[in-house]
C-alpha cells in the first residue's frame, strides 16, 4: 500500500511537469487556430447554375489556354515550366483535375479576382498585377459565364475517388513545394538518368525554376518532406485552408482545395514523411502483449522469492 502511495506521488509530479512543458507551453506558444472547414465563407455564392457545354466555349474564348494546359483534353501547356516560371514566377497549373480538387465557390472567385480569392492582395498593391489575368466577361452575365467555365472544368475532371493523394498534392502544392523524399521537384517528378551529365542538366533546370519562384515569392517555398513531423496534421490542414490565419502576411496563397482534397494532401505528406506509421502500430501491439506477459511472470517470480523473506 505504502509503495502505491509513493508511486502516486511520483506519477503526480511527472504528469505535472509533463503538462507544463508539453500541452501548456504549446498552447501558449502556438495559439489554437480553429478550422474553417474549407467552407470559404468569405467568398460570395452567386447561385448560378453552370452549363458545361457553354462553359467549354467560354473557356476557349476567354483565352485560358494562353497560359494553362488541359492535358486530358489534348491541350498541352503552351510553355515549358521554366519559360512559364520566367514569365509568371510560377508554372500555371494544368487544369485537367482542377474541377475535382478545388472548391467550386473558390474557383469562381479565382476566375473573377485571383488575388482576392488567393488572399494575396497585400502582395499586389501599387498597380502590381497578379500574374493570372482576371476574367472580365465576354459581354453577357459574367457570373453566368464564370459558372459555365467552372461547370466545364468539373465535367472534364476525374471523379473525386479517382484523385490519388499524389495527384491532389501535385495540383494543389507541387508547383511551389519540392518533396525530395519522394523525388518530387517543383518541375515534377525527377526522372531516372543513365548519365550523370543528363542528371546535372536536369538539376540545373530545377535550380533555374527555383530562382524564378524565389523572386516571385520572396523566398523559396520549403521542401515538405518532413512537414508531417515538423508541423503536424492540424497545422498543415489549417494552414492549407487559410495561410493568413497562421502566418499573417505570408506570400503563400490560399490554395482553395475542398475538404476531401485536403485530406488527400495530408495522406500524401504522411506517406512521404511517416511511411512506417502502420508498421509502428502493429509492431507496438505485439511488443505490448509480450511485455504484459513478461511483467506477469516477473511478478510471480518476485512473489515466490519474497514469501520466504517477509
Amino acid at each position: 500500500m505504502k509503495e502505491l502511495k509513493i508511486l502516486a506521488v511520483v506519477v503526480f509530479f511527472t504528469l505535472l511537469t509533463y503538462w507544463g512543458v508539453e500541452p501548456y507551453a504549446h498552447s501558449v506558444m502556438h495559439p489554437h487556430v480553429e478550422s474553417e472547414n474549407f467552407a470559404y465563407n468569405d467568398l460570395k455564392d452567386t447561385g448560378k447554375k453552370g452549363d458545361a457545354a457553354k462553359g467549354a466555349e467560354t473557356f476557349m474564348n476567354a483565352g485560358c489556354i494562353g497560359c494553362h494546359g488541359v492535358k486530358s483534353q489534348g491541350m498541352p501547356a503552351p510553355m515549358d515550366p521554366i519559360a512559364a516560371a520566367q514569365s509568371f514566377g510560377v508554372n500555371p497549373p494544368d487544369l485537367s483535375e482542377a474541377g475535382a480538387i478545388f472548391d467550386e465557390k473558390f474557383l469562381s472567385a479565382l476566375i473573377k479576382n485571383p488575388a482576392h480569392a488567393l488572399k494575396v492582395e497585400h502582395k499586389f498593391t501599387g498597380g502590381r498585377q497578379h500574374p493570372m489575368t482576371a476574367f472580365y466577361g465576354l459581354g453577357g452575365d459574367i457570373d453566368q459565364e464564370v459558372a459555365d467555365i467552372v461547370a466545364y472544368l468539373k465535367s472534364i475532371a476525374p471523379k473525386a475517388e479517382e484523385i490519388t493523394p499524389k495527384m491532389a498534392f501535385e495540383t494543389a502544392c507541387g508547383r511551389c513545394h519540392a518533396v525530395h523524399y519522394d523525388n518530387w521537384t517543383q518541375m515534377g517528378e525527377k526522372p531516372k538518368f543513365k548519365y550523370k551529365k543528363d542528371e546535372l542538366l536536369y538539376d540545373a533546370k530545377v535550380l533555374d525554376y527555383q530562382d524564378h519562384l524565389t523572386k516571385y515569392m520572396g523566398k523559396l517555398p520549403p521542401d515538405l518532406s518532413m512537414y508531417i513531423r515538423s508541423r503536424g496534421e492540424h497545422y498543415i490542414k489549417t494552414f492549407m485552408e487559410n495561410p493568413q490565419n497562421l502566418l499573417p502576411g505570408t506570400a503563400m496563397p490560399r490554395v482553395g482545395v475542398t475538404a476531401e482534397s485536403a485530406e488527400k494532401v495530408l495522406e500524401y505528406l504522411t506517406e512521404v514523411g511517416d511511411s512506417k506509421h502502420a508498421e509502428r502500430d502493429s509492431v507496438g501491439k505485439k511488443v505490448m502483449i509480450y511485455l504484459f506477459i513478461f511483467a506477469f511472470l516477473a511478478y510471480l517470480w518476485k512473489q515466490s522469492i519474497w514469501k520466504e523473506l517477509h
Binding site: Y24, Y181, S230, G232, V283, A298, I305
Partner: protein, 404 residues
C-alpha cells in the same frame, strides 16, 4: 603457476581460472541489501537497463548515420527512419530512452535527497552519481546535435556561446570549441566523436565507480536505520530469513528490480510506439538553417530548470547563477549539517525545504520553456531566486535540526 586439477564441469573449469564462484558470492549472493527499501531503490536497475537500451540502439543507428552537415539530417530522417528495416524503431527507442533516462535520474536523485542517502559515509555515492548526471547531460547535448535539425543547430549556438563567459567575451574560446565561427562541419564531427565514443566511455567508467561506492557503506533504507550488515547476514545465512534485516541482492532484490523494470518497460514502449513525439521537438524536423532563427529557442525538458536560472538575470549575474546551479548539488552532503539520516518527513523543516525545492524546480522547468515575456519572466525570476536562496539556507536550517 597454480596447480590445476582436471575440471568436471564448465563451471568448475571457469572457477579454477576466473574464481567465478567467489565473484558470484561477492557481487550477487552475499551482496547484502536492507529489506526495508521500496521500489524507488530499483531506479538504479531501471537506469542501467535504459543505458543498455541506449547503447544497443545507438550502435544500430551508428551503422547508418552520416556525420556530415549535408547528409546528417537526411541520414536520420530518411535513411534510418524510412529505408532501413526497423530503423524507425531504433531511432524512437534511442530518442525516447534519452529523454526518459533523465526522468528516472531525477527520481533517483530526489529519492536520495528525500531519504538522506548522501549523508556521512555515503558522500561518494552522491558525488559519483552527480558526476554521472553531468556526463549524461553532456552525452544528451552532444547527441541532440547529431540530426542537425533547426533546434540542434541553434541550441548548439546558444550553449557554446555561454563559453564566452559574458562580459569576459572570450570569443576565441567559443570558436575554439566550435572549430569555426558558427556551428559547422568541425563542430558536428567533434560532437559526434564525443557522443559515440568518449562520453559513453566516461559514463561506463563512472557507472563502475558508482557501483563501487555502494559496496562499503551499503545502500540506505527507508528509515535511515543503521544496520549491522555482518550480524544480519549471519541470521540470513542461518536460515532466519524472515527475521534478518537484510536480503541477498540476487535473486532476492533482483526479483523485485526485474518486476519494477518490467513495469517501466511497459511505460517506455508505450511512449516509443504511440507517444514518441514528446521526446522529439517538432522544430528539429526542419533541417538546420543558419540564416533563420527559430522564434523560441529552448533546450530539451530536462535542462529547462537550469536554463531558467540563467535567463531571467542580466548577462553576468545570470552566468554566475547558472554556474551555481551546476555545482551546488555536488555540495549537498557538506551543506546538510544535520546528523540525521532519516526520511525528510521526520526531519522537520527539512521536509519543507525538500518539497519547496521539488516544486521550485518544476516551476523553473515550465517557465524555461515558455517565451520570456510578461508574467512568465517574473515567475521565472522569483523561482530562480528561490532556488538560490534554498541552497544558501540549507546549512542554517539543518544545523538547528534535532536528532531523531
Amino acid at each position: 603457476m597454480a596447480h590445476f586439477e582436471k575440471a568436471h564441469s564448465l563451471e568448475e573449469w571457469l572457477d579454477q581460472r576466473l574464481a567465478i564462484k567467489t565473484l558470484r558470492r561477492v557481487l550477487a549472493e552475499e551482496y547484502w541489501i536492507p529489506k526495508n527499501i521500496n521500489f524507488l531503490w530499483a531506479m538504479g536497475m531501471v537506469l542501467a537497463f535504459t543505458f543498455g537500451i541506449l547503447v544497443v540502439s545507438g550502435i544500430f543507428l551508428l551503422m547508418y548515420y552520416q556525420p556530415n552537415v549535408d547528409l546528417a539530417f537526411d541520414s536520420v530522417n530518411y535513411t534510418i527512419m524510412q529505408e532501413v528495416e526497423f530503423g524507425w524503431l531504433w531511432r524512437h527507442m534511442h530518442a525516447v530512452a534519452a529523454s526518459v533516462v533523465f526522468l528516472i535520474i531525477y527520481i533517483h536523485m530526489f529519492t536520495g535527497i528525500y531519504y538522506g542517502s548522501y549523508k556521512k559515509g555515503r558522500e561518494l555515492i552522491w558525488i559519483s552519481g552527480m558526476l554521472l548526471f553531468v556526463s549524461f547531460s553532456a552525452e544528451a547535448f552532444s547527441g541532440y546535435m547529431l540530426p542537425w535539425g533547426q533546434m540542434s543547430y541553434w541550441a548548439g549556438m546558444v550553449i557554446t556561446n555561454l563559453f564566452s563567459l559574458g562580459s569576459l567575451e572570450l570569443n576565441g574560446l567559443v570558436e575554439w570549441i566550435r572549430g569555426d565561427y558558427v556551428p559547422g562541419q568541425a563542430f558536428l564531427t567533434r560532437f559526434f566523436m564525443l557522443h559515440v565514443f568518449l562520453l559513453p566511455l566516461v559514463i561506463m567508467a563512472l557507472i563502475g565507480l558508482h557501483f563501487g561506492t555502494l559496496r562499503i557503506p551499503h545502500v540506505n533504507n527507508q528509515d535511515g536505520e543503521e544496520i549491522d550488515f555482518d550480524e544480519e547476514a549471519k541470521k540470513y545465512l542461518a536460515g532466519k530469513t524472515k527475521e534478518a534485516k537484510v536480503i541477498r541482492f540476487a535473486n532476492d532484490f533482483l526479483s523485485k528490480d526485474m518486476f519494477v523494470v518490467s513495469i517501466f518497460l511497459i511505460f517506455y514502449f508505450y511512449l516509443v510506439f504511440w507517444h514518441f513525439d514528446f521526446a522529439m521537438d517538432p522544430i528539429n524536423f526542419d533541417p538546420a538553417d543558419g540564416l533563420k532563427t527559430p522564434p523560441h529557442i529552448y533546450p530539451e525538458w530536462y535542462f529547462l530548470w537550469s536554463y531558467e536560472i540563467l535567463r531571467p538575470f542580466p548577462k553576468d549575474p545570470g552566468l554566475v547563477a547558472f554556474g551555481f546551479a551546476q555545482v551546488i548539488f555536488f555540495l549537498l552532503p557538506f551543506l546538510d549539517k544535520s546528523p540525521n539520516v532519516a526520511p525528510a518527513s521526520r526531519r522537520g523543516i527539512f521536509a519543507v525545504w525538500f518539497w519547496v525545492l521539488l516544486l521550485d524546480m518544476i516551476v523553473l522547468t515550465v517557465m524555461g520553456k515558455l517565451p520570456p515575456q510578461g508574467i512568465y519572466s517574473t515567475i521565472g525570476l522569483v523561482a530562480a531566486v528561490v532556488f538560490i536562496a534554498l541552497w544558501i539556507l540549507l546549512p542554517f536550517i539543518t544545523k538547528k535540526e534535532k536528532a531523531v
